[in-house]
Symmetry: D2
Subunit: 407 residues, 4 copies
């Protein structure tokens, strides 16, 4: 029996979102392999996950662009999304593009402000913005007779934001909202609230705060909505959280871990603004420091904007460590990956897993999905393998339950 | 209560062995930190493992050299083992050097033959060689009133050797030995047999066959002796078996994994002989192929002798993989590690863990130590983290039992 | 005043040749910049070099393929030659493809033999093969009313070939040919002879012997024909011959220079055959050893076939050197270049410069073009910058002469 | 006939200076090879350059340290200067250390200020500081009956300094000095002036301004004193100025050149202060931009302090360039060099060449030594090979003159 599930993307025509939508359609059309999709591994086979032909896409986008134009631009700049793929998905991208609406950008930083300097939102209160988002979601659902909605946050990085004390409790949080304390609400929080209040599972793949604070988690539980975030773990940090536990396991003391990242896409341009850059670097560095657990380790993360690279993130990590007899040794790695081609399948994985959790009557933070994130909410473990084993255990438990249910 | 445990090293003055003995003494003297030693991690704290001041070293060495000369040569060539360390351990190295004896080198390949062209063993039968080894062990034990003996295999790589059918069963194996079928017995098998028959736990850190076949495993069980091997996982292969599961977990299809290794130590010189080189490359490559489980992956391992590098193994791995939308991406890593400084603490770890197993009345193959090896005997898992988790579970179980016992 | 010059390519539909023809047409069409073309630098401006719209292409190709199919395959496999370029040049490629003829492959090695196992040439004598090539050239010239012909050798590598003593003198060389000593004549020599006897300047960009021996040089002078070769210097060797003189100038002693090359194109497949591989490695290594002039340097070149890379040659060079106070230091470089996109503009440069030399009444070996080659015939200097300065001096002298002539 | 030449080093016990003095003595003692010294190449053989046994060392040093302690610290931290070398040179280092005096640090930046927070110089006028330096020089000369003095500037980087208009002419420059405009005089200018007024050739190997402005050049000519600077070209910039001309020669358009440098020595600590860092980065970047001559190139230089590296500068350069058919390609290099072991022999070379120029009655800026510097004063060429050819031409001309003179 087929379902109709709406996937509403905030930051809809960014590179990651465009690759996700393009990829979902290309999978439907059978013109690409399933590589890069975790949920296509054999472990996930019996879960009856949401199918790609059950997804309908829409979203908020502040720039004047649609998915066809975004996909063509991405293909031209990065050599990814071949002419064959583009032809196969063009009609679907045109169709989904009708579901695009302008969004809100409150406190999204100078980088975003330079792209969308004059958002109409200025006349609205915080509650007014939330209501407008909910209205867009409701119309999308009604127009397409959707069985379910899922909201995915894929905007550029907001400036580093530390939630105030009041974000700890539902009541004090809502009080700030009603008091229209605009200085304390980045757009991502408004989106998360709109999703939760609309009963839509919420996935935050960005470094923005989104739903990652106690009041929102509690609200999600009250509304029976699962949520998960934040900051997708796609490339250099995936490598870091895979390798750092190896050094720990072998008692090799890491003296220095210096990570230099270069990229040239719109995300990189936004990160050229120091405030957004700081938020991103912090997430990347925290993972590492948490695993190594050594206050003497010198670590540094830099993210530099290099226009010619486009979406091709290139990272050099230099790891200086001490082994037996006090011997200083070196590991270096160079990662050359297309950021959006790495991120977008994980976005599809998270959509499927959030939907699955919702159907399984799970709500609140989805801890078993920590392996997908640089800064998973309430994380106790940053090492990639332990995180991944937790995911596989979750999947195995559900498979077993399902087999049991059938018998 | 203190014990006296003899550690008998085959290939006693090679670089790994020299660093192990030097390191154990430097730890006693308190002049180096414990970095590089797995068994010094907090997880292992309550196991009452063999202490470094309980170890007495001896061994077989075919070259005319002792541990002082070997340590000095190593320090000069590689900048590892500082003048301070050297001074602190010199008297102990002189003392242990009195326990060195010439060894046997049957079928150890042209590389070894070029170092020890005229071994006295030629006059002996296979059984005669085993008995001679056992006599050396017994004398060592008697001379020092040792409570226990442990045998560690640390020679250079023997040529690639596929055990004949008869090595499956104790009876057929022993029959070949008694028939003096010299063409079928590399020296490492004779050493393993001598250890087992002497009741000494046997650790094989080399690519040699040693005890890694069913008949020897069965013999070890009959004699109540634990054994473990083979081919220490120290550098590039540690990296490979850490990273390959990451690609699998993320469904990133590895098209090519090309590993180039360069080194300039005696081991490297022996590996310049094609037969030994092949054995080593096979172990390195099998790990990878087993984890990736993809017949279409193109993989290659090269090990080249570059004299100026000395013990500083330098490896470049190039990994070409396909992600979402069929996008080809690249990971490269460069590993610059001092091979013997990486291997030697693991040798000390294995001595301690083999001794611990023996005291815990465990015998036969020590599967929980698979994380230390490139080709662990009877391995079902090559991924480093799953192997390491198995070790930690073993340790946790024993800790729990001990705590229980105390109560 | 416009000329019509025929460019006859041996190995016409290989990757380098295909990119050269495609590029020449794309330049005519104005859809690509001039980057990569040395002769488009300002120094060359006043020489009235052959224009791209004056070139007509034809050639010998042993496979059943034309330039349209070759360009499409190359674009699909390597992401180079964009859809826009392809559309712009398609009609011209179709037109030139009518000038393709089957060629001869005598003694071209097992690699080539596996592609063209059953060449018709077997029935012909050596002289008969030369005559057949000359007939193809003459027909091409006649069909298009060409003012001039230029022959360019772009086949895969032939096995390493040391010219016999008789190749020193014209008479003994021709005697061997007439005696039909097929064992002593690789195809490239027959092509060079056909070009020279046809009065066509001859450019050999491959590792094949071609015209690089005294008898052919003398024949070329007798026929008033310029020739040049061999083995284009495009990537890793360009780097080597740029960097090695730096180490010499700074008296930094190179202990080891290890170069690992990987590629996955047809050239790489042919190089998988040990005989062709050896020829190529020898050229790469000789350059280096000649510049360093140090018998103690350990150097190695490996070229490995890695199918997933296609035309994207990836090279890792590891350079271990000694500085002041005997300090060992390291330089590593990683080169990721599209081999054919590097080679093909140089082929166009050489066509122009060979044509220019011919019009300037120069004949025999063109020594000033040594900077384009790994193994320039009669080279006294392998350092790239000194070679390049010699080219610039040649150009400056001709510019001066031209300016003088005008006055 | 032997001479006695005093080498006065400003920043005497820094790493570069310590390695220079240690190296000169080690060469006298015959315990190191001549590698790293340009002036030991055969081209320089007949110039009768200053011999190492003719040099006597002294200098200004703001820290409480001598050459023995500095050499021991350097050896321990960096594994360079072996125990054998240390023993061989210890007595000489002790002897030279008697010639150490405290120096001035006016406007040397916060980095230096943190090392020497309370210099006695505050009570002096600018002229008073110059006179004090001259007095130290005169005493050194008198104490050792020296034939000649040479002053070498080897302090840490001063903050980026743009000479004011008045530094163009001798008169206005001296007027500022007499007016005691302390805000406009970094210490390096005072040292240069003291050297010039003392008749001592002046070599500035640092990024400090030193003698690199017209008024000082004119003063040097008036005093018959040669001078040269600034900012030694030792590692990453040597690589840049060797490679960039290759890209130009091949018309390969460099889109991006990103250089990341890490080091952990005292120099690195000073460079952690943004003002000094900026000066250094500017010199490194200017070289590149000058050679490429392309305003569209995106280039960046970062220098980061990584304590564990000590003197082992590690640089990663990422070069993204466009070749034929608009193809984007990549070159990366990784440089791992001991900064002081690279710089110190060049300092000895410059001492010899400055002395040679002085004896040859040359004064003012020594343009032929541009190849030794990142920011050679009045440079017209930054490409390393053209600079080096100019040096070799100078040497050849002098050799020829000498041979002529003998006849």
């Amino acid at each position: 029996m087929s379902r109709k599930v709406g996937v509403w993307i905030v930051g809809a025509c960014g590179s990651v979102a465009t690759c996700a939508v393009t990829g979902a359609e290309a999978l439907k059309a059978g013109v690409i392999p399933t590589s890069g999709l975790v949920t296509e591994l054999s472990d996930f086979k019996d879960l009856d996950l949401l199918r790609f032909d059950e997804m309908i896409f829409g979203g908020h986008e502040i720039r004047k662009v649609d998915w066809v134009a975004a996909a063509e631009e991405f293909a031209r700049d990065n050599g990814v999304i071949s002419p064959q793929i583009l032809e196969a998905v063009r009609p679907a991208l045109q169709r989904h593009s009708k579901n695009l609406r302008p969004g809100v950008t409150l406190n999204s930083g100078k980088g975003v402000a330079s792209i969308a300097p004059d958002a109409a939102e200025r006349a609205l209160t915080l509650r007014g913005m939330v209501d407008q988002i909910k209205k867009d979601l409701a119309e999308f659902k009604a127009n397409h007779s959707l069985d379910q909605l899922i909201v995915v946050h894929l905007t550029s990085a907001e400036p580093h934001f530390v939630p105030p004390r009041e974000f700890h409790y539902v009541e004090s949080f809502l009080a700030l909202l009603e008091a229209d304390r605009r200085d304390l609400f980045p757009a991502s929080v408004l989106y998360a609230l709109a999703a939760v209040e609309s009963g839509a599972p919420y996935v935050n793949f960005t470094t923005c705060i989104g739903s990652s604070f106690p009041a929102m988690d509690e609200l999600a539980r009250r509304h029976g909505v699962p949520h998960v975030g934040r900051d997708g773990k796609t490339g250099e940090t995936l490598m870091k959280t895979t390798l750092a536990p190896m050094f720990v396991a072998r008692n090799l003391k890491v003296m220095s871990w210096e990570g230099y990242n270069m990229l040239g896409n719109r995300d990189g341009k936004v990160l050229d603004a120091p405030d957004a850059n700081q938020a991103k670097c912090k997430d990347k560095d925290n993972c590492l420091r948490d695993i190594l657990g050594d206050d003497e380790t010198h670590s540094r993360v830099r993210i530099d904007y290099v226009p010619s690279l486009g979406d091709w993130k290139t990272a050099w990590d230099f790891i200086h460590f001490t082994g037996f007899l006090g011997t200083k040794m070196i590991l270096q790695f160079i990662w050359q990956g297309c950021d959006s081609a790495l991120a977008s399948p994980l976005v599809l994985d998270l959509i499927r897993m959030a939907d699955f959790a919702h159907r399984s009557n799970e709500s609140g933070n989805l801890r078993h999905l920590a392996c997908f994130f640089k800064a998973p909410y309430e994380a106790e473990e940053h090492g990639f393998f332990r995180q991944n084993e937790a995911l596989l255990e979750y999947v195995a438990a559900h498979r077993k339950a399902r087999v049991g249910a059938r018998v």
